[in-house]
Subunit: 366 residues, 2 copies
């Protein structure tokens, strides 16, 4: 009942609740007021939880060296789920924070077993759209795991000293060699920015999906154990939800019919949205009488994440839907129109950046 | 009985026999005739076994690109056991072969848990004595695992794709994360010389102690699986015995009383050798009557490995001993004299190289 009244932030939040209890992730609510600038991701609890984000924000307020790092796994074409992360980074860049993006190409090849050539094709697409969303190429550091330098690799080699197999298994479950390599590589990604060679950032924030929390936990353990040797602070992290696919499950390139890809053409997008799972009733009459259920609706989620940035218009939609004033057909058509505007804009800007990106992806040898 | 008649090559060979049967290592005998130049390590079966050494030798004969790579774990002071490996490398360098030495500093820190500063102190000593034994600094490539470059590190990251945990455990037994990292690092050490960036050597020989065979097996498996992708051949390997310590067990820096260190002073060396375990009898009378048992004697082993390079003088000693013509006291005094000559010579040459070595060990930051 309480959930129904919240026009944002309750989608599948139940499954995230256990993260708060089991792993000590804090709800985002208690730090939202400290943000120098609001963003609907925070107020709508799309970014729903954190670790030590308050410390990071204090560092920002106090003029200390702060940075953001996040990673992309180039394992498929760019879809709307990725756009959210690019937008999150753009928000931090606007705050004047150092932005660092790692392309997890080693993990894509070794763990996900994607051919190297494919990995680089996807990476090209990711980077192009990161810029298209608004990241400034001149102020954004993007690097590939397999194309970094010696000090970074030294961390990967040396961190394993202080982590036992039992600890790894407690964090990750069953392990294969490739996953162990990937875990220490991610730890180096997260922690290397604190070294003087990489800017000596005191507070590093890692915005991730909740499924990436194991890497955060490992990195925080390593930071604790190398505190004296390397002077590392624990990294901070925020956790975002994933926009659902149009079938109501996680949006994923492995289910292309239910994901909105940036390179989908207009008719494909129209077809997908018009066939999306909604919170509508069985008949129009019933819907006018009972109202729709937006908390079940994947089209409402498009508005929540991407199409309505203003809270007032989102709230009006929510009320129009739950009161039965608007029906799904009409709502979907508007979503298609707005979504095509967003995606056409991104496509146009992506074309401008395609030559900038070529520099990055010139080394796919093995 | 048969063993007794062999003045070389039978020391603890029983424990090596199973390597032939269980792991398919070939006896060295069948390739000794193909060596372009004899060395007493081969004729005395100090180097007792191999894999694909015949292929490597064919490559050498046919003028193909051949290289040797071996590694040092800088985990203690240099002792006579290490000198043997330096001498083996010197022999190959004389044949005109490319010589590559990896300092396993990542493994020393992460697996053996030696402080980084100590690792570099030991490494300085190893490199200095490698030159003192006769390696040419201008023609020897020495690198540290934590101070290499991107393509090498890329191999470490990517090789794990095709090796499962079950396969790792079959090769190495129980594993910790640090051992897994070290294993893939060693695979990169062994295989990277075949890449064009590192000389594109077609045939790479890795002379190791038998305890290092797991790394050889892993590297050969990886070479098979990346044959098409990277064009890798299986590495060849030779296996040497270890000179025993003066108590009859493996010479090791962890038992300093029974090892001969290069930085021991003359009186320490004299004391150690005079107290060494021999194959002598209970009384001088008995020894004259029955003869000594050189196959039990650690002093005889000093002659076998280091002091008598000519086979005739070694054979004479063997006969003098087994026939009871020479007693242990006299034999030990001569060993001390010859050993001090060898070590004083190495020390003198080591001093000449100390400044050359400083370039190598200038980066111990973490």
């Amino acid at each position: 009942m309480g959930l129904k009244l919240d026009p944002w932030g309750h989608f599948a939040i139940e499954s995230y609740e256990k993260l708060f209890k089991q792993f000590g992730i804090e709800p985002i609510d208690n730090v939202v007021d400290k943000l120098p600038k609001k963003h609907h991701y925070f107020t709508r609890k799309i970014v729903f939880g954190h670790r030590d984000f308050d410390k990071w924000l204090n560092g920002l307020h106090n003029g200390e060296r702060v940075a953001v790092l996040t990673g992309f796994m180039p394992s498929g074409h760019v879809h709307l789920g990725h756009v959210m992360v690019f937008e999150e980074l753009r928000y931090y860049q606007e705050l004047g924070v150092s932005i660092n993006v790692v392309v997890a190409d080693a993990e894509a090849y070794a763990v996900r077993k994607i051919p190297r050539k494919k990995v680089f094709e996807y990476a090209r697409e990711y980077i192009t759209y990161a810029y298209a969303v608004g990241l400034d190429p001149g102020r954004t550091r993007i690097y590939f795991q397999t194309n970094s330098d010696t000090t970074y690799y030294r961390l990967i080699q040396l961190f394993s000293r202080k982590i036992s197999m039992a600890e790894m298994e407690a964090i990750y479950g069953e392990l294969e060699p490739a996953k162990i390599m990937a875990a220490f590589t991610q730890a180096a990604d997260i922690l290397h920015l604190q070294l003087p060679e990489y800017g000596g950032y005191k507070w590093v924030l890692v915005p991730v999906g909740a499924d990436q929390d194991p890497h955060i936990r490992l990195s925080r353990d390593i930071a604790d154990r190398y505190g004296r040797e390397l002077g590392l602070n624990r990294p901070a992290s925020t956790y975002h939800k994933f926009i659902r696919g149009l079938d109501g499950n996680k949006m994923s390139s492995s289910k292309p019919d239910y994901a909105i890809f940036l390179d989908d053409d207009a008719s494909t997008i129209r077809y997908k949205v018009l066939n999306a799972l909604t919170g509508g009733r069985a008949t129009a009459e019933e819907q006018r009488r009972l109202g729709g259920e937006p908390w079940k609706c994947t089209v409402y989620e498009l508005y929540l994440y991407h199409l309505f940035k203003g809270d007032k218009e989102l709230l009006k939609l929510y009320e129009d839907c739950t009161s039965g004033r608007i029906l799904c057909g009409e709502d979907k058509k508007r979503a298609v129109k707005l979504l095509l505007e967003v995606i056409d804009g991104l496509k146009a800007r992506a074309r401008e950046y395609s030559s900038v990106v070529e520099d990055y992806v010139a080394f796919p040898k093995f």
